[in-house]
C-alpha cells in the first residue's frame, strides 16, 4: 500500500538514478503481462469446449503469472513516469488502465482458484474487461512513446478519417507552368519550410511563432506585427530577414542559411499585395513586378529551345568555317546544337564569314566572337542567329548602335560585353532579351547610374560590371 501512497503523493519530484534505471525497463517488462494475459484469456475461452477442459487446471497459474508481471510493469511504469515529459492526459489513462488490468488479473486468479459456479458471471465480466483494457492501455502506451499519430500514419485515408485524423497530405506537385503557380503553396510556404520551420514548428515554436501554415503565419508570434498585410516594411518578419546578418535580431539566426535576395523580394511583394492565402501569381502580379523572379525561383525559365530536334548542319558550311579559323564543336550527343568560337583564330574575321555562320542559325547556340575586331555593322547578322543562348562579344569596339541589332535574340541567357564601348543603349536592349540572366559590362562605357537603373528595372538579372 505504501506504493500506492507514493503514486498518489507524487513526492518523487527528483527521482534518483536507480529509479529511472528500472523505469527504463518498463517497455521490456510490459510485454510479459500482455503475453501472459492474452494467453490466459484465450485459454479461459477455450475451456468452454470439452476438448480443452483440461486447461482449467493451469488457468490460475496463467492468471497469476499475468498478474505478477503486470505488477512489475506497473511499478516500473510508475518509475518511468517520474522522468517526466509525457502528455499528462494520456499518462493518466495509461497508468490507471494498467493498474486496473493488474488488479482484475489478481481477481481472475482468485476466481479461477475457487472455481465456484456462483462466480461464473463476475468471472466472465472480468475476463472481457481485462481483454479490452489490455488493448486500451497498450494503445495509450504506444501513443506515449511514439506520438498519437504514429499508428495510423500510413493508414488508408478512410481509416484515418474514421479515427478523426485528416487525410494524408499529398506532396504538392511541382509547378510546370508559371500560370499554375500558387502564391502561398508554391512560393511562400516552400521558402518557410526550407529556411524557417526548423525553429518555428509545433515542437519548437521559437518566439511563439509558427510558420507551418498560413493561419499560423498571419496569427504571428510574440511581436504582434509579424505580418501586416499590405505593409511589408512594417512587418516584423520582413524587418528580421532584411537586417544585416550580424545583427542580433537577424533571421534565420545561429548561422542558418539566410533567405536569398529574390526570396526576400518575393516575400515583400506578397505582403505588399495583402498577404493573400492563395491565388495565382500571374493574376496577382498585374504589374509584372515578380513574375520573372518567380519563374526563375521555380526553375520554369529553363529554355525549351533544347527540347526540339535540329537537323544536322551542312558539312561543307562547317568545313568552310573551320578553314576560316572557327572552332566548331558539337554540344551534345543526341542533337546537333553547336558552339562556334572565333576568339582563338589566327585569321581576321571577314564580313562574309558571318554570312556563312547564318547558315548554321538553327544549330548555333553558343557563339564566341571575343577579341575578333568586330564592328557595329557586323552585329546585324549576329542579331539574326535566333537560337543563340550564349553570346560572347568581349573586347570588340562595338557601341550602342551595334547592340540594338541584338534585340531579337529571345533565347539569349548570357551576354558578354566586357571591354566594349557600349553605354546607355544597354537599358533599351536588356528588357527585350526576356531570357537574359547574366550580362557582363566590366570596362565598358556603361556608367554607374546606368548600372543601377539596369539592376532596378531587371530584378532577376545578374549584372557584372566591376572586379572587386
Amino acid at each position: 500500500m505504501g506504493f500506492i501512497f507514493l503514486m498518489n503523493g507524487g513526492i518523487l519530484d527528483n527521482p534518483p538514478d536507480v529509479v529511472l534505471f528500472f523505469g527504463r525497463f518498463h517497455p521490456v517488462v510490459v510485454h510479459l503481462p500482455i503475453g501472459f494475459l492474452i494467453m490466459a484469456i484465450l485459454a479461459q475461452l477455450a475451456t468452454r469446449w470439452p476438448k480443452f477442459k483440461p486447461l482449467e487446471l493451469y488457468l490460475p497459474l496463467m492468471w497469476l503469472m499475468g498478474a505478477f508481471s503486470a505488477l512489475l510493469a506497473v511499478i516500473f511504469g510508475y518509475f518511468l513516469s517520474l522522468s517526466g515529459g509525457y502528455d499528462e492526459d494520456t499518462l493518466f489513462w495509461h497508468q490507471w488502465g494498467g493498474i486496473t488490468v493488474m488488479l482484475l488479473s489478481f481477481g481472475c486468479y482468485f476466481i479461477n482458484k475457487k472455481s465456484s459456479d456462483s462466480l461464473t458471471i463476475p468471472k466472465w465480466i472480468s475476463v472481457v474487461i481485462v481483454g479490452l483494457l489490455l488493448m486500451f492501455t497498450g494503445h495509450m502506451g504506444g501513443n506515449l512513446t511514439h506520438g498519437s499519430t504514429y499508428l495510423l500514419e500510413y493508414a488508408p485515408n478512410p481509416i484515418r478519417n474514421i479515427a478523426g485524423l485528416p487525410s494524408k497530405v499529398e506532396p504538392r506537385k511541382k509547378v510546370t507552368v508559371l500560370d499554375s503557380a500558387d502564391v502561398f503553396l508554391d512560393l511562400v510556404l516552400p521558402m518557410m519550410q526550407t529556411k524557417c520551420v526548423s525553429c518555428h514548428n509545433e515542437g519548437k515554436n521559437k518566439g511563439g511563432l509558427l510558420l507551418t501554415s498560413y493561419g499560423n503565419m498571419i496569427l504571428g508570434g510574440e511581436s504582434e506585427n509579424t505580418i501586416i498585410p499590405g505593409d511589408a516594411l512594417k512587418s516584423e518578419l520582413v524587418r528580421r530577414i532584411t537586417l544585416p546578418t550580424e545583427h542580433d535580431d537577424f533571421m534565420p539566426s545561429e548561422g542558418k542559411l539566410p533567405l536569398t535576395d529574390p526570396e526576400v523580394l518575393m516575400i515583400k511583394w506578397w505582403i505588399k499585395i495583402g498577404a493573400p492565402s492563395d491565388g495565382f501569381v500571374t493574376e496577382l502580379d498585374t504589374e509584372k513586378a515578380v513574375s520573372s523572379l518567380v519563374s526563375n525561383y521555380l526553375g520554369l525559365d529553363k529554355n525549351n529551345l533544347f527540347n526540339k530536334k535540329v537537323p544536322p548542319p551542312n558539312r561543307s558550311i562547317v568545313d568552310s568555317l573551320i578553314r576560316h579559323g572557327f572552332v566548331i564543336n558539337p554540344l551534345m550527343k543526341d542533337n546537333y546544337f553547336l558552339e562556334a568560337n572565333f576568339s582563338l583564330s589566327e585569321y581576321d574575321l571577314e564580313a562574309s564569314d558571318l554570312d556563312v555562320l547564318l547558315e548554321l542559325k538553327e544549330q548555333l547556340v553558343w557563339l564566341n566572337l571575343g577579341n575578333s575586331d568586330l564592328k557595329d555593322a557586323n552585329l546585324e547578322k549576329i542579331g539574326l542567329l535566333q537560337n543563340l543562348v550564349k553570346l560572347d562579344l568581349r573586347g570588340n569596339e562595338i557601341t550602342d548602335n551595334g547592340i540594338k541589332h541584338l534585340s531579337k535574340l529571345e533565347n539569349l541567357e548570357s551576354l558578354n560585353l566586357y571591354g566594349t564601348k557600349v553605354s546607355k543603349g544597354i537599358v533599351d536592349l536588356v528588357p527585350k532579351l526576356t531570357r537574359l540572366k547574366k550580362i557582363y559590362l566590366w570596362q565598358s562605357e556603361v556608367s554607374k547610374e546606368t548600372i543601377t537603373q539596369l539592376e532596378e528595372q531587371n530584378p532577376g538579372l545578374t549584372v557584372i560590371f566591376e572586379r572587386d
Binding site: 546578418t245 548561422g255 536569398t260 564543336n329 554540344l331 560572347d392 572586379r467
Partner: protein, 483 residues
C-alpha cells in the same frame, strides 16, 4: 602481341603481320580509332566526332575548362572551412576519451587541438571561413563548399594518385588526360592539359599527370615557373628555315617508320609532339609574358607582394587564366615551396606557422583569379576546383601539428554550373568524421565530368579487356551543389 612496337624494319608488311597475328588485330584497330586524334587538333571533322562515341560532350556542358588548384599535403579542414567550436572547449583533453581514434600515420596522437584561427561569416550566404583565407572569404557567394569529402588513403602518394587518377595505384590516366580524351582541345598551338609547376612536385611524382593507357598525347605538359617555362622553348637554330627543314626530315623518317611497322601510338604521338612543340615555340613566349596584363590586374593577384611565394603563385594564377582563355581544357596548379622548415600543407608539426605561410602564398592569388575570371565572363564557363588529397586530424600530432585524416576533409568548387554560397555535407562535432552526405573522390570526379557535359559512365577506354573509366565502377554526381 607487341611486335608492332618493335622499331626494326621487318620483311613482312603490316597487313601480312596483322593477318598472321590475329591477336594483334584488335589492339591495332583500337589504336587507329583513338590514337590518331592528334593533340591540339581543331577537330576539323567535328560532325564526324559528333557521331564518334568518344569525342565531344554527351549533354550540354556547363563548363568548358577546369582550373584545378591542388593543395598539396592536405589542408586542415577544422582550420579553414569547417569550424568546430567544440575543439576550443575541449582543447588539451585526451581525444581517446571522447571518440574512437583511428591509427594515424605517425602514431603520435596528442591532445585535442583547437584551431589557432578564428572564423568569421562572409558574404550573403554567411559561409564561415577562417582567418587563414581572408581573400578567398570575399568570394564565398561564388563557392560551393563540400565539408564531407573522404579519401580511401591516409598517405600522400596513394591519396594523390587516387585524387588525380581515380585509383590509388600508380599508372592510371589522370583526370586532365581523360577530359582531353573526351572533349579534345580547342587550341592547336598549346597542349590541352597543362600543369603549372609552382615548385613542389606532389608525392607520387609526374605519374599524377600521366596519360596511363590513354594515347600518349593526352598527358600533361608541365610548365615551370621562371623565364623558360617549357624546356627548349627558344629554338636552338638561328635560322628558321633550318629548323623547319630538320623537322620536316624527322617527320619523313617517322612516317616511313610507320609505313614499315604499322600505326603505333608512340610514333604517332612523337610526330604530333614535334609539331606541337614547334608551334609552342611561338605561342608560349606570348603566353607567359604578361605584356597585356594591366598593373591593376597584376595587383589584384598579388604580383606586388613582398612574399616571393605569393608572387610566384600569383603569376601561376594569371597564367592559368591566360591558358583557359586560349582554350586549354585542364590546368592544374601545384603549390609553391614555402619552406625552409615547411613541407607543403603537410603540417605534422608547427601547424600555425606552416599553414599560415602556405595560406598567405595562395589566398590572394586564388581570390584574384576568381574575381578576374568572373568580371571577364570566364567563370561562367570555367570550373575552379580547390582541394587537397585528404584532411587533417582535429587532435594534435605531438603538441602543435596535425596528422593525416582521410575520414573527412573540406574542398570547394566555384564557377560554371556550381551553386555559389552552398555548404554541402557535415562532419561530427570534432570535424573528424563525415556524418552526413559523404562525398567520395569518385563522386567528385563524376561531378567535374558532369559539369563538362560528360557522363562519367560513358567515357570509357578499352584496356586490358575492360572498358575503363575514370570513376571505375563508382561515382555519383553531387547534384545538390549544382545550379
Amino acid at each position: 602481341m607487341s611486335h608492332h612496337h618493335n622499331t626494326k624494319p621487318r620483311v613482312i608488311s603490316r597487313r601480312e603481320m596483322l593477318g598472321l597475328s590475329a591477336g594483334g588485330f584488335g589492339s591495332l584497330a583500337l589504336m587507329s580509332l583513338f590514337g590518331t586524334i592528334p593533340l591540339g587538333c581543331k577537330r576539323p571533322g567535328s560532325l564526324e566526332s559528333a557521331s564518334n562515341l568518344y569525342l565531344g560532350p554527351h549533354y550540354l556542358p556547363k563548363a568548358k575548362n577546369v582550373i584545378f588548384l591542388y593543395m598539396d599535403g592536405g589542408v586542415s579542414q577544422v582550420d579553414s572551412f569547417d569550424p568546430k567550436p567544440r575543439l576550443a572547449k575541449e582543447n588539451g583533453e585526451d581525444p581517446r576519451k571522447k571518440f574512437k581514434v583511428d591509427a594515424t600515420q605517425f602514431d603520435n596522437v596528442g591532445k585535442i587541438l583547437k584551431s589557432p584561427w578564428d572564423f568569421k561569416q562572409y558574404g550573403e550566404c554567411g559561409m564561415p571561413v577562417s582567418d587563414l583565407f581572408p581573400h578567398i572569404a570575399t568570394c564565398v557567394d561564388d563557392i560551393a563548399l563540400i565539408r564531407s569529402m573522404v579519401s580511401n588513403f591516409p598517405e600522400h602518394t596513394n591519396a594523390n594518385y587516387f585524387l588525380h587518377t581515380g585509383s590509388g595505384l600508380q599508372g592510371r590516366p589522370s583526370m586532365g588526360a581523360w577530359m582531353n580524351y573526351g572533349l579534345g582541345s580547342e587550341n592547336k598551338n598549346i597542349p590541352g592539359y597543362v600543369v603549372l609547376d609552382g615548385g613542389l612536385v606532389p608525392p607520387g611524382g609526374l605519374d599524377n599527370f600521366k596519360n596511363g593507357f590513354l594515347p600518349a598525347s593526352y598527358q600533361a605538359s608541365v610548365f615551370k615557373a621562371g623565364p623558360e617555362p617549357v624546356a627548349n622553348i627558344n629554338p636552338r637554330e638561328g635560322i628558321k628555315s633550318l629548323q623547319e627543314e630538320k623537322l620536316q626530315f624527322i617527320k619523313q623518317l617517322d612516317n616511313s617508320l610507320i609505313g614499315k611497322i604499322g600505326e603505333a601510338d608512340a610514333v604517332e604521338s612523337a610526330i604530333s609532339n614535334y609539331e606541337l612543340a614547334y608551334k609552342m615555340q611561338s605561342s608560349i613566349p606570348e603566353l607567359t609574358e604578361f605584356k597585356e596584363e594591366t598593373e591593376a590586374t597584376k595587383k589584384l593577384y598579388g604580383m606586388d607582394s613582398d612574399d616571393p611565394n605569393l608572387r610566384g603563385y600569383a603569376s601561376q594564377c594569371i597564367l592559368a587564366r591566360r591558358l583557359i582563355e586560349r582554350g586549354v581544357r585542364f590546368v592544374e596548379l601545384t603549390c609553391p615551396n614555402v619552406g625552409p622548415g615547411v613541407d607543403r600543407w603537410d603540417q605534422h608539426s608547427n601547424l600555425k606557422k606552416g599553414h599560415e605561410k602556405n595560406a598567405h602564398a595562395v589566398d590572394q592569388p586564388i581570390a584574384g583569379l576568381l574575381k578576374d575570371l568572373k568580371s571577364r565572363g570566364l567563370l561562367e564557363e570555367t570550373l575552379v576546383v580547390w582541394t587537397g588529397e585528404f584532411g587533417r586530424t582535429p587532435f594534435a600530432q605531438g603538441s602543435d601539428g596535425r596528422d593525416h585524416n582521410p575520414s573527412a576533409f573540406s574542398m570547394w568548387m566555384a564557377g560554371a554550373g556550381v551553386k555559389g554560397g552552398t555548404i554541402f555535407g557535415k562532419t561530427d562535432e570534432y570535424g573528424y568524421r563525415v556524418i552526413e552526405n559523404e562525398v567520395t573522390v569518385h563522386d567528385l570526379h563524376a561531378t567535374i565530368m558532369h559539369l563538362l557535359g560528360i557522363d562519367h559512365k560513358q567515357l570509357t577506354f578499352r584496356f586490358g579487356g575492360r572498358d575503363m573509366r575514370l570513376t571505375d565502377v563508382h561515382g555519383n554526381v553531387v547534384k545538390d551543389i549544382l545550379t
